[in-house]
């Protein structure tokens, strides 16, 4: 069974139709990339999948392991295993990153019918995962994303991904605002999480992220639809030729 199955998805934001019949199937273990010009609806797709308010689905379906995603609340989708790494991670003043992580992990475990992690187990796990992402403990004591550099914010996203053990990860422009070193750390983190029961959807404008997170399938999105699908070589073609041919493709 497909992990993520999106069929003829239509969605709008404030009367404006952004997704216009999008189809996408991702199987367990696969890494797909969606590339496309600005305004093609890439970020909208990620928000619609995660269930953000104001993004109204007007037609079609999206399922995770056969289960309808669109009817679920955002946190229920997270518990089912959908993880969105935000393009602009949100700052939450006053809430320590560690507190946030533990609250999220235990909320998700509870909904999955798993035992909550004991404090020592949780701390051990965080320390281990944080180390892999070069995140120091001081950063986790600070409020969530407040005063974090661009790279720190994105590493924090990947840390949360690692902790929440999702099945389907959507990375929205994770490369934006990162220099090459930060990009490598983030990409290594993602690659470590690649697994045969886990899928990835990497949304990006540029091919450079895909040098580090090599996709199995590359899609080109334009005007709210997937207009072309190919292998990793498609990303290189786009890098060379640009999106000019796709601006009006749909």
């Amino acid at each position: 069974m497909a992990l993520l199955e999106v069929k003829d998805l239509h969605a709008r934001v404030e009367e404006k139709e952004i997704l216009r019949g999008l189809n996408l199937t991702i199987n367990p273990g696969e890494v797909h990339a969606i590339m496309g010009p600005n305004g093609s609806g890439k970020s909208t797709l990620s928000y619609v999948l995660a269930g953000k308010d104001d993004y109204e689905v007007t037609g079609g379906s999206a399922t995770l392991e056969g289960e309808d995603l669109l009817e679920l609340e955002p946190d229920e989708r997270a518990a089912k295993g959908l993880f969105l790494a935000f393009q602009y991670p949100i700052e939450i003043p006053g809430v320590a990153s560690m507190t946030f992580l533990r609250t999220a992990v235990n909320a998700v475990r509870k909904k999955r019918g798993e035992e909550e992690l004991s404090t020592p187990d949780f701390l051990r796990l965080v320390r281990e995962k944080a180390k892999e992402l070069s995140i120091n403990q001081d950063m986790l004591k600070r409020p969530v994303n407040v005063g974090f550099s661009g790279g720190e914010k994105k590493r924090n996203e990947i840390l949360q991904m690692a902790m929440l053990e999702p099945k389907m990860c959507v990375l929205d422009e994770t490369d934006s605002g990162l220099d090459i070193d930060a990009l490598k750390i983030v990409a290594d983190g993602v690659n470590r999480l690649r697994a045969k029961n886990r899928g990835f959807l990497v949304i990006t404008h540029y091919q450079r992220l895909l040098d580090h997170i090599v996709p199995d399938v590359v899609h080109v999105m334009a005007k709210g639809r997937i207009v072309r699908t190919g292998g990793p070589e498609l990303a290189h073609e786009l890098e060379a030729k640009g999106y000019a041919g796709y601006e009006n493709a749909a």
Binding site: I92, F100, V108, L164
Partner: protein
């Protein structure tokens, strides 16, 4: 209810910390009279209103002695159709040289039918007084809530988490056991505030 503390001795200190999730109508004004030289007054307050509650809280810091200082941190949270008001007075009298006050007074609105009001009176009658007051009012951020929910928290947990962050400056002045209780109280008093 009105409580009053009087710092008569030199170098004495008084600190009020209150968490108000109260009754239908609440007025609460503990005050500090800083009479002794070098005395200090502190007021940390969380006032939550939900449903049809009207919560009216605040404090008075009356600086009379020399080198007195005071600090007011007030966090008001209004949900439902409630009204949440802060009233405060900070004054330095003629002979109160080197009086210091810092006031931070923030309000968080949950829902579009509640109100938050801030009325401070700041009176400096001595040129060596340094008073700083800042106040903000904003709504609970949809983006923050969505971010929390994407990480698996349900709507009420998300609100409680963000609110706990908002009130953190005050909570950390409570004894540990009380802080834990206060957190639970906040969660309970906000029940039903998100739909």
């Amino acid at each position: 209810m009105t409580k009053r503390g009087d710092c008569r001795g030199n170098g004495s200190k008084i600190s009020w910390t209150q968490v108000e999730t109260g009754s239908a109508i609440t007025w609460k004004y503990p005050s500090c009279i800083l009479r002794g030289d070098n005395s200090q007054g502190e007021f940390y307050s969380i006032a939550i209103s939900n449903g049809y509650q009207q919560v009216d809280s605040g404090t008075k810091m009356i600086h009379l002695g020399k080198n007195t200082s005071s600090r007011i941190i007030s966090k008001g949270i209004a949900a439902g159709v409630s009204q949440n008001t802060y009233r405060g007075q900070v004054s330095a009298h003629r002979k109160a040289t080197n009086a210091r006050n810092f006031t931070n007074c923030d309000s968080l609105l949950i829902g579009d039918k509640c109100g938050a009001h801030t009325t401070p009176y700041i009176e400096a009658k001595n040129s060596s007084a340094v008073f700083e007051h800042e106040a903000t009012t904003s709504k609970i951020s949809d983006d923050m809530l969505f971010y929390c929910r994407q990480r698996g928290l349900d709507a009420e947990e998300a609100v409680a988490l963000v609110v706990n962050g908002f009130v953190k400056d005050v909570l950390q002045h409570l004894p540990m056991e009380f802080a834990v209780e206060a957190q639970k109280l906040i969660a309970i008093s906000l029940e039903g505030s998100v739909g």
